[in-house]
């Protein structure tokens, strides 16, 4: 019984952390179609921001994770977009290679500053007991934060003028600019928001993961696969795909090893893409967001 | 040319339907044409003509309905299998190998059917027939739109298909090129059945015998060009507007 409860928490936590890691990518890749291979490194930067803020500067961990990390990475996103990414819009493969270069560069810079050692912050709050097991309260809070985050993204995209303009511009940039929208600015802001969300994810996951310069590599493949499998409806698709993959990964990790969890995720993804080439939202939920 | 009494139509569709979400682009179309026929499809933009073509060649998977080619059901076949059966298609936006030369474009098409030596012979013949020989070594991506159209037509003809679907063959062509294409289509029709989607009314008058009018995804009417021009309904939805413009 306790084991079952623990397993459910584990699975929910797995889904939440995967969805969280994917949120920024769902915007940048799912909506903008910009292949940001430095996605994992944006997360890594978010994690380092939280580590530096809490350990070196002594700032409250919640403020570091929820506010400073997204702002810092969002600003880095703006700089990168203006200086680099914007030359590659519409050239998918070039973007992919360019951002790969960026990802290596970011790893290099962070290694040069902090060294290739494992950093970390301890999770805030204590733990509670499920039978004989100890579960960190932070993991439960994280699930709640992710739910709120996705509701927020959904509302911003559907209910606000900003979200509407962003979606319209991504679907038809030519038409948007005819309507007097500065597509350049929309791209910049959207990219910054995506980067900020990625930074937030990095910050929030910092207490429950190892913070090293090369930490991003672990995320890039899983997050891209999840967003791709999600299909055209970037937000709902990503959520559904996270649900499926998070469950598979966590159950296999629990039963066998985390490595097999990763393998299982990949196999399920490849088979799903074989069955649903347009992704989940291309086939099942038409016309969704 | 029209051989209405022929036993098996070269192409027929039954209840062919294509839905995109809530939009019905092709609506329950029953279409039939005889061997050797030259059929024109007309209709306003968005009437479903190009979608109809794409369903025929399985570039889109039709939501419902069946397609028969010479009596054989080809509904579920892959695009390449349909091509191998002898249906050639020229798409609306010229679909060519931009990075290859004119010669290579047509060679790749010819080599699928023939050995090396025969392929080379056929390529030379096609280049001459389409007056492309002086461009043979040019990279297709650098050519004018009308020239690219001809290259695409060349790749299609090389396969010696029994039925050719032409989606706006004269788009982007000069007046001179249109006249040449008119002659070419007449010549092709001596050995091959053709379906042509066009907007250029002069061109249609010059080539067509029977014309099928598409409207809102369905067949509105099928008749000779002369009769259609007198048909008020057709004039209203299409010809009138076109003439006014």
């Amino acid at each position: 019984m306790d084991t079952a409860a623990l397993l459910i928490i584990e699975v929910l936590n797995g889904i939440a952390s995967l969805a969280l890691a994917c949120a920024g990518l769902a915007i940048i890749f799912g909506m903008m179609r910009v292949i940001n291979f430095a996605h994992g490194e944006f997360m890594m930067l978010g994690a380092y921001t939280t580590v530096v803020c809490t350990k070196t500067l002594g700032i409250n961990i919640w403020i570091s994770m929820l506010i400073i990390s997204p702002i810092v990475v969002g600003i880095i996103g703006i700089i990168v977009e203006r200086a680099f990414i914007r030359f590659f819009y519409g050239r998918m493969i070039d973007t992919l290679i360019a951002t790969w270069g960026l990802s290596l560069l970011l790893i290099g810079i962070v290694t040069a500053i902090f060294g290739n050692i494992i950093e970390g912050v301890s999770a805030p709050m204590g733990s509670f007991e499920v039978g004989v097991y100890n579960v960190a309260q932070y993991r439960m809070v994280l699930i709640g934060i992710v739910i709120l985050l996705f509701i927020g993204i959904f509302l911003v995209l559907t209910r606000t003028k900003l979200g509407l303009i962003a979606r319209g511009t991504m679907q038809n940039p030519a038409q948007a600019s005819v309507l007097g929208i500065s597509t350049q600015r929309v791209y910049m802001v959207t990219f910054a928001v995506g980067a900020g969300l990625t930074g937030l994810a990095g910050g929030l996951l910092a207490p429950i993961s190892q913070v090293i310069p090369t930490a991003g590599a672990a995320y890039v493949a899983q997050t891209f696969i999840t967003v791709i499998t999600g299909g055209t409806g970037a937000v709902t698709g990503t959520l559904v795909a996270s649900g499926v993959f998070g469950t598979v990964r966590q159950l296999l990790s629990y039963e066998f090893t985390p490595v097999l969890g990763g393998v299982g995720l990949l196999i399920v993804a490849v088979v799903m893409l074989r069955l649903l080439p347009q992704g989940i939202t291309g086939k099942i939920f038409r016309r969704s967001l | 040319m029209t051989d209405a009494g022929s036993a098996v139509p070269i192409l027929e569709t039954h209840g062919l339907t294509m839905r995109f979400g809530g939009v019905v682009a092709v609506d329950n179309v029953d279409f039939s044409m005889a061997e050797g026929e030259l059929r024109c499809l007309i209709g306003p933009n968005g009437a479903g003509k190009s979608t109809f073509f794409k369903c025929l060649t399985h570039q889109y998977k039709a939501s419902a309905g069946r397609v028969r080619f010479r009596g054989a059901d080809i509904t579920g076949s892959h695009t390449y299998q349909i091509a191998r059966r002898g249906i050639g298609i020229k798409t609306q936006v010229p679909s060519v190998f931009d990075g290859l030369s004119v010669h290579e474009n047509i060679w790749v098409a010819a080599r699928r059917h023939h050995g090396r030596r025969e392929a080379n012979r056929i390529v030379d013949g096609i280049l001459e027939r389409l007056r492309l020989d002086h461009l043979a070594r040019r990279v297709v991506g650098q050519l004018a739109h009308g020239e690219r159209q001809r290259v695409e037509l060349g790749t299609v003809l090389t396969g010696e298909p029994e039925l050719i679907l032409l989606d706006e063959p004269t788009a982007g062509m000069t007046h001179e090129e249109v006249n040449q294409t008119t002659d070419l289509i007449r010549e092709i029709n001596k050995t091959t059945s053709l379906i042509v989607v066009e907007h250029d009314m002069q061109f249609i008058k010059a080539i067509a015998e029977r014309v099928t009018v598409f409207h809102q995804g369905a067949i509105l009417i099928e008749d000779t060009m002369a009769n259609l021009e007198r048909n008020q309904q057709v004039r209203d939805i299409y010809l009138g507007k076109q003439h006014a413009a």
């Binding site: 030359f87 590659f88 050239r91 998918m92 493969i93 070039d94 992919l96 290679i97 360019a98 270069g101 960026l102 290596l104 560069l105 790893i107 290099g108 810079i109 290694t111 040069a112 890039v220 493949a221 899983q222 696969i225 791709i228 990763g262 990949l266 993804a269 490849v270 893409l273 074989r274 080439p277 | 060649t57 695009t79 390449y80 091509a83 191998r84 798409t91 679909s95 060519v96 190998f97 931009d98 990075g99 290859l100 010669h103 290579e104 474009n105 060679w107 790749v108 098409a109 080599r111 699928r112 090396r116 392929a119 080379n120 030379d124 070594r137 990279v139 991506g141 790749t155 299609v156 396969g159």
Partner: protein
Amino acid sequence: MTTLGIDLRRWETWGTILVVAVMVVLLFAGPHIFDLFTLFKVTLFVAMSILALSMGFIWGYGGILCFGQSAFYGLGAYTYAIAVGNIGESTAPFLLAIVVPAAFAALLGYFMFYGRLSDVYLAVVTLAVTLILYNFMRSTAGEEYAIGAQRLMGFNGISSIQPINWPGDGNALLFPDDIFHLSMGCLILCYIGLKVLNRSHFGRVAVAIRENELRAELLGYDVRLHKLQTFTIGGAMAGLAGCLGVNFNSFVNPDVFALNFAAEIIMWTLIGGLGTLVGPMIGCIGLLMLKFEIGQQQITNTYLIFGGIIMVFVLAVPAGLLPTARQLAERFVPALRGDESGDVPREAAR
């Protein structure tokens, strides 16, 4: 007018002849002009050049951007190591090191091409597969992970791998000179083989598919099957490269599946020039030499340098060194301007 065959009027033909000539001269002269340490290094360069060729072929000609070409290299390396550890005689392991990666490529390719994954999706799936292999191999340190008599050894890697022997005699091991000859011979065969393949019907169709999948399909070509074949050939060649690569220092560890190595192969191709065969080899040798230099100077931060190189290249020289050099040469020396067509495509597959 022949579409195929050797046309001495084309300067590309002379380029090919020159490349082959240089490689043949090296084949015979190599052991005499290099000291033993350099010979080892050159052997590694040669093995890596085969890997670069395989990438240049599937990406530059087939239009398939595989991010995990290193996976096939690694599989070839591990297959050889495991098989030779069990069998003890290297002929079968050598062949297995080609067949196993090819079969793996065919299986993976089936899911990807018949699932109609293209460009980016394909890149991500291949990368994910590579990283999974990386994680898996790193976790096999325990004694329970063994295939036959050969333990997988996890992140420590398999060392003291028995080198290739003369076929049929497990005790007649090849000397470094012989391994160099074998590797160089394989490279020459692969290069000539790909040149011939690219000028054949198969190669032409591969390029046609890269240019326009829909048109190829409308002409009656089975695009999925064709891509699968291209991908499998690439996998086989990468496996061969891996097999020769382990013979360089009798050692393989999971780093062959790491992200960095996967990235390097893309960089070779990108820097040397997409859509050529020599380009990726030049890029490969150039970057490997750079890496050795950096390694000797103890500047450990290769990330910084490689990341910067990629960013600069993709911004400034997106076509790659060789095609850019050719364009410049043709602009200033009109005589070099051959006919417009050729088996070397102008526009890269992007």
